[in-house]
């Protein structure tokens, strides 16, 4: 295993931020850490990097305990922090070169890796420009370039696509795919369910400091295979619709967004007709209706009782 977390515990006063977490990540995996704010994802990442003291348990990376070998272990880790962590007063190339030097690169090799990292993130033509002139997406890509230039064995990406345009987001996602194809091991955290679903080979769902589910996306969906997600487009919407639908036996949750009603419920033969009846009795009209297969979103909702962005 490339990364092993054994009985990991972190407390902040009386708050148990990480509660006895056990995880193993194999070489070449894209491992997703999924959870709402405060679930403990960033705390775990900080402990992996040796930035936050571990209160209990241990972390072993590349066969070495992080505690006592931080500098040695961190040489082979690339971190893409959640917040932009670049220098606005250094050019794109200078930013990447600065972090390269911290990881021991110098001379021609340094210049070569700077060029490669900027090319990989689509910033070659911006190498001499200052990030203060960059769009949010370009800054995010530079944030990634600074993590890759020393060719780390383990790349940790903490919410790398937060707040960026679709073009940059697609670029980043395809970059992660490329890194995976090249054999890199990646730990990927995100609020965006579809990203995790698309990229990750295995996923841990976290809530309140604990891992509440772990497996491939297929394994996780199997956990809620007895449920279905029904999406109804409505006309003449009023809020009594939600109350009426929630009264139906087997309905676990019901969310109204604009004119779209999303219902999560246990599978049973007469469910759809019950929902249509409830909508009609509430004075609304059904325009279209579809039953969807379980997604990670519905898995998360089932396991935690809340949406990922709560």
């Amino acid at each position: 295993m490339l990364v092993e977390m054994k009985n990991l515990v972190k407390r902040y006063g009386n708050n148990l931020a990480v509660d006895n977490v056990n995880l193993e990540i194999a070489e070449g995996e894209v491992f997703g850490l999924l959870g709402p704010n405060g679930a403990g994802k960033t705390t775990i990442i900080n402990m992996l990097l040796g930035l936050t003291k571990v209160d209990g348990g241990e972390i072993i990376i590349f066969g070495k305990r992080v505690n006592g070998n931080r500098e040695d272990v961190s040489k082979h880790i690339g971190i893409v922090p959640q917040e932009l962590a670049i220098y606005e007063d250094l050019t794109a190339a200078e930013n990447v070169a600065f972090f390269g030097r911290l990881y021991g690169l110098k001379g021609k090799l340094l210049q070569q890796r700077v060029a490669e990292a900027l090319a990989f993130t689509g910033l070659s033509d911006k190498r001499k420009e200052f990030p203060k002139k960059f769009s949010g997406g370009m800054k995010r890509r530079l944030n990634i370039a600074c993590a890759l230039m020393h060719r780390p064995r383990l790349i940790i990406m903490d919410e790398p696509t937060v707040g960026i345009d679709p073009q940059s987001r697609n670029h980043i996602l395809s970059s992660v795919e490329d890194l995976h194809q090249q054999g890199s091991t990646i730990i990927y955290t995100s609020h965006y369910m579809e990203e995790v679903e698309e990229l990750c080979t295995r996923i841990a769902i976290m809530d309140q400091g604990r891992v509440i589910a772990l497996g491939s996306k297929e394994e996780l969906k199997e956990l809620v295979s007895s449920e279905e997600r029904i999406v109804v487009e409505l006309a003449g919407v009023n809020y009594t619709v939600v109350d009426e639908v929630r009264k139906i036996s087997g309905v676990k949750d019901c969310i109204l967004t604009d004119s779209t009603l999303t219902v999560l419920a246990s599978k049973r033969p007469s469910l759809i007709s019950s929902i249509v009846d409830a909508i009609t009795s509430a004075g609304a009209e059904v325009i279209s209706l579809s039953a969807e297969k379980p997604t990670l979103e519905s898995v998360f909702l089932t396991l935690t009782g809340k949406t990922l962005r709560d």
């Binding site: 040796g50 961190s74 917040e83 220098y87 250094l90 600065f98 911290l102 990881y103």
Partner: protein, 381 residues
């Protein structure tokens, strides 16, 4: 070591590119202030000629000493220093003093000669207007000169010379103009030192920003996630900031010397050493402020207030003289320590005091360094 150099170099590049701060605050601001204050306040620092001090003179002694006193007061050397106005009584003299028409009253009592010749204690009464300490001291000095002469005359009388002549030795009272150039600062010299000290003290802001960037900003935490060892980031940032401020100080010293003719004394090495230690002290204090407060805005406000207070206490804006009972307060101002060391070095003050100031500065540097590195380690808890 290479990581320390990398971090130091990045800090310098950042500081230089932050042109509004680096060039504006650290160079142009003090150079302009030295020029403005040095010229505007020049008269306060000029050492001009002293006009003769107006004194009332009441001589009630008709004996030989009284006659000698009259002769003495009419000597050209004394007239250069004292504008003697004879009065008829102590009451008249006191009235003139009250009306501030005279600065001092010299009263020779009627029994002065008798007592001197008899070998008894005799006194000449000098009354000086309150607050005129300098001119009062001048009158006292002149009269002491007379007393020395009168003692010699008394000795001659005792030896049997009935008509001794009062003839002061050449140079006993002489208005000797002396050059103060290089021995006392004029306004430009004074403000070159105080503005240098003030602006280096604002280098605390660099220390504070560096420490905040290392510990409170995401990019600082990213550096910590790299293979840097504990303390390397702090040392590298400090070296970069110290280098930036020290080079700025050199520019101020060189510019003020060559453009304004400011006197930096003969011991340039010691001046640079004091300045270098001062720069480290300033950066260290800024780092310590962030380490303790963990809030960049609050620390910046505190630092700004402290620099103003320290500069004021050190007499950076204008010279201040605290009552001796309160003069110890000045030693709480790092600016005072540095200014004292610099002025002592330039104008030949006691070297032992300079060493004491340097020792105090090194103490503050060590303390702030220990607290800074401890805070770096604490940030990972």
């Amino acid at each position: 070591m290479s990581r320390i150099i990398t971090i130091a170099r990045r800090t310098i590049v950042q500081n230089l590119r932050d042109t509004g701060n680096a060039l504006g605050q650290m160079l142009i601001f003090p150079i302009l202030l030295i020029f403005i204050l040095g010229n505007a306040l020049a008269p306060m620092y000029d050492v001009g000629n002293v006009d003769p001090t107006v004194v009332g003179y009441l001589n009630e002694d008709s004996g030989p000493m009284g006659r000698l006193a009259d002769e003495f007061m009419n000597m050209p050397e004394v007239k250069d220093l004292l504008d003697v106005r004879p009065v008829d009584s102590v009451t008249q003299g006191n009235n003139l003093l009250q009306d501030m028409d005279i600065t001092a009253l010299i009263h020779i009592p009627g029994d002065y000669s008798t007592k001197v010749i008899a070998g008894q204690e005799a006194e000449i009464v000098i009354t000086v207007l309150p607050g005129r300490t300098f001119r009062g001291a001048l009158v006292e000095t002149v009269m002491e000169s007379f007393i020395c002469g009168s003692n010699a005359t008394q000795a001659m009388l005792a030896m049997g010379n009935p008509q001794p002549e009062y003839r002061p030795a050449q140079g006993s009272i002489e208005d000797q103009p002396f050059s103060v150039s290089g021995l006392m600062p004029d306004a430009m010299d004074y403000y070159a030192v105080t503005m240098l000290v003030m602006i280096v003290m604002y280098g605390t802001m660099y220390g504070a920003y560096g420490m905040a960037a290392n510990n409170l900003y995401p990019v600082g935490r990213r550096v910590k996630a790299s293979p840097v060892r504990p303390g390397e980031q702090y040392i590298g940032t400090t070296i970069g900031n110290v280098a930036t401020i020290f080079v700025s100080s050199l520019v101020i010293i060189a510019f003020s010397h060559f453009a304004y003719g400011v006197n930096w004394g003969d011991n340039l090495f010691l001046i640079l050493l004091i300045t270098f230690l001062h720069v480290i002290l300033a950066v260290g204090l800024g780092s310590m402020a962030i380490a303790v407060m963990r809030d960049e805005k609050r620390a910046s406000v505190l630092i700004n207030l402290l620099v103003i207070a320290w500069t004021f206490l050190a007499g950076g804006y204008f010279k201040i003289t605290l009552p001796s009972a309160f003069s110890w307060i000045q030693y709480f101002s790092p600016s005072f320590l540095v200014q004292t060391a610099l002025f002592n070095t330039i104008y030949g003050g006691p070297f032992s005091q300079t060493l004491l100031m340097l020792a105090a500065m090194i103490g503050i540097i060590l303390l702030s360094g220990i607290i800074g590195i401890a805070a770096e380690r604490r940030s990972g808890q």
